[in-house]
């Protein structure tokens, strides 16, 4: 398949490429949001651990 005809997708480029672009966005969002969620949970857990250590240390 020639490069120009590949990108043209037989006249369906305006449907095929947005389809793949949106799939890329969804996959990227899933990975980003999952990692962000885990980092936020780790921060909350760390803060809870620090607070409990501080509470034990108090007279």
């Amino acid at each position: 398949m020639m490069s120009s005809s590949f990108w043209a997708m037989g006249g369906y480029a305006r449907y095929v490429w947005p389809c793949y672009a949106f799939a890329g966005v969804v996959l990227a969002w899933n990975l980003w949001s999952a990692r962000r969620f885990r980092v936020a949970a780790q921060l909350r857990a760390r803060r809870a651990a620090q607070m409990s250590t501080a509470a034990v240390g108090e007279p």
Partner: protein, 250 residues
Amino acid sequence: MTVREIMWTWFYKLASPPYVYGVSAALAPWALGGAALAMGYGLIAGLAIAPPDYQQGEAVRMIYVHVPSAMLSLTVYTLMAAASAVALIWRIKVGHAVAAASAPIGASFTILALVTGSLWGRPMWGTYWAWDPRLTSELILLFLYVGVMSLRLAFEDPSRGDRAAALLAIVGVVNVPIVHFSVVWWNSLHQGATIVRLGAPKMPGSMLWPLLSMWLGFMLFFAAALCIRLQGEVLNRERQSTWVREAVKS
């Protein structure tokens, strides 16, 4: 130790939050690597090597994204309902964590299936949307995902939210066979089952292998995203536990 005893031991291990946290952390990179390989092959083969369809032409290439995302939307919902049932029946809290972690991923793949289906429908059916049984039941699936997520957050007591969301997830699973068989039970614009059907797939190997590879890639990607999200869910739910304190200190 018999196979049955090994199975039960493994099942009970899955009820342990530290075990699930550790397994998720270990599995996530492997699943992500596998997903990249499978999707890489699927993309190259689907976009450049597979032949165009004799009726749909090059528009058929959209199925390499649409079909795996639609299949995943149903698989994830079934997993979410099964995890909810395990959580309610055996009172295994990790089940609620799995269900909560699955819901946003499943909802995003349902949106992807609906959008890519619309993009395929415009040149093939002449419209982006039709109130067709398959499309409508898939849209209901999205509403169910949104309902499960909203219900979980609607209660002040998280355990009540978990139980209410689990009940809705279990009741809503009735929609999964409706989505799958809608093309058989009613007159539908949507084509019938091509892969998941009795008998051999209706597709030639040159199109089937890229599609199966993309499906495997999407499944592995879901596994990776679930593992990462599940670690966060477990940490949120167990942050007062000693093992979490030790884990975050290290």
